[in-house]
Symmetry: none
Amino acid sequence: MNAYLLSVGDELLIGQTVNTNASFISEKLTQIGVNVENQTSIGDNENQMLQKFREAFDYYDLIIVTGGLGPTHDDITKKSIVKFFDTELVMNNEVLGDITSFFQKRGRVVTPSNKDQALVPNIGEVIRNSRGTAPGIWIEKDDRIFISLPGVPFEMENMIESFVIPNLIEKLDGNTNSILTTNLLTTGIPESILFERLGNLDELLEGAKMAFLPNQFGVRMRITVSESTREATKDKMTQIEQKIRTLAGRYIYGKNDDTLESVVAKLLGERGLTIAVAESCTGGLISNRLTNISGSSSYFERAFITYSNGAKVEHLKIDEDLVQKYGAVSLEVARLMADGVKAVSGTDIGLAATGIMGPTGATPDKPVGLVYIGICDEKMCTAREFRFGDSRLMNKDRASQAALEILRRHLLGIPYEE
Amino acid sequence: MNAYLLSVGDELLIGQTVNTNASFISEKLTQIGVNVENQTSIGDNENQMLQKFREAFDYYDLIIVTGGLGPTHDDITKKSIVKFFDTELVMNNEVLGDITSFFQKRGRVVTPSNKDQALVPNIGEVIRNSRGTAPGIWIEKDDRIFISLPGVPFEMENMIESFVIPNLIEKLDGNTNSILTTNLLTTGIPESILFERLGNLDELLEGAKMAFLPNQFGVRMRITVSESTREATKDKMTQIEQKIRTLAGRYIYGKNDDTLESVVAKLLGERGLTIAVAESCTGGLISNRLTNISGSSSYFERAFITYSNGAKVEHLKIDEDLVQKYGAVSLEVARLMADGVKAVSGTDIGLAATGIMGPTGATPDKPVGLVYIGICDEKMCTAREFRFGDSRLMNKDRASQAALEILRRHLLGIPYEE
């Protein structure tokens, strides 16, 4: 099955919006063995849209159109669909119900233009939108599948994952190689060292594909296996994953949609442990990530963002002389902060970060990017030094990731040293 | 002048790479009055490329192709150009010199495949690449301009800015309008009410264009003015902006690249005021945003993330009976938290957030999305209620935005009420 993606919107053509929809949909289609051959973006222009519909119908099995469905836009996608398929708009009561309850929940009035969004082409099947007001549509004609979705990524992504992909898998059943992609997520190891650890990749992969995708949070290994049956694909993926875990398992904190905070949350929950955090340089980011997980109140007790030395001394009960002696950015103070926040909060674990995020604040001894992470429980109390880069926001990301990884390894009893 | 952008590369079609090249080039072309009508991405496939060349030559004045020029790719763009223009490849000694010195500088050997990159189509003008090894090409034929550039953003961007744009401006001289785009950033006002406030848009804009772009942080108004001279464009933009500010100025916190935290940081700095934050439901996000700004230690004193009631009572010195009486998520406790954190920290301002972010934690009286923001200084102490949606992460974003906006209006003396 080959596919054509059409993105509609002037904001794409003036360069204001980067087209992340095309890459999102392409990745999802590739994973189920659909071959995306063309991604095209055009403006809010009915003639061009109709021309693209005609061209696409000549050649592609699957056509997905995103955008042009909003209430304040000229509703050109719906109009164009009606013209192209020679049909008419009809009121869909299910969709009208969705829209009405969407606004009621938010305590807002449904305007006539909102109601108009429940008018759908009288052909194909409606794709309901649980995150917004514009419905999508799935049309099958002349052995082609034509899908229209809203352009808002948050809405479109949900409709792709919960409706489009499952329905396409059903259509494809047996007519394609089974393709499986797994992402193994690592942190705390540079790409080159990870690469060396894995040894001979051809032997490891036996025809499967692998990409190393680094960013400030770590290196993602994307493995793609394609075999003739679903079982063969699954088996091969399991084998490869096991081999990789034998070689570099300690650096792998999760896979696919896992986040380091979700992994740590699960570990804390399983062990019934509580945590308190003392943040200086990270300014709340570690706590923000820990509390992004639903149910975090069962393990996250409290945090102090002690930006000033006074706050460190006052709330974390750190001896002022020691802060003066070692400096606020030091191994010793990181350890004292972790120990202090644990004691003050009465939690099982204390986690702390102090450092220089830049661009200002460096001294001859202490450059921008220098960060110390401390961790203590009832049995141990330690801290580690990190040297990151020049970018303030990247440094905050990296420091928060290092802190959560130190916590993960602590919970699993994996030493942090290489 | 209308334009067609063709991006070449399998990595785009499997969704591995987001096409930032298309938005970059589109923005630059829009700024000089070139009308980008189509952005297309295809894989490394010669037949498809030749077909796209033919289609583009039928209709567009300007065709820009990026990608397919690397030494490790099948060099399909160069091959396709040679076929399409019926020419041949010749060694270009200037380019060969560039490539040789590029590798010498890095202490690396020039391989035969690197040398092959100095082979260029024997037509048009070479665009030299100061940041890499693949040259570009500028071809004029049949009143069309055809440009090929490497796909590596860092290399392509430099060639666009230093060669393509200046040369296009020369070609366009006098034949195009000057175009200017400004984004006005609002928060705390729904799109529909903002729209109503602005009244008759046709009268307001007098031919300029405006788009309303909402997300969880607020509504962005994008205004695009196009007039015959640069002065006329600037004057008209200034007029429109002034009119909009008269009608809805209190909701506009900044423009273009401003963030709410950068605006608030500037206001706090100018006034020499310090702030402390007490966060419950936002879990550190407000503090994280305030400390994303370099130099934040001059105004950001400390923060408490008091997830548990015990922490609220202990650190913010809130009467436990009042927490019991009103509940931790209440107008009263938000106010007490803001007042408490100000007193404990000795700052000029205290800011606080408490709420239910979901998906769990709702009670019959207090639904998911209910948030209270408190703010106090030496003269006043108040709190406001908000009702957001169902998504935990969006609710955190919205609550942090509401808190920073309340702070901004407080600093400027703008009442929060509509």
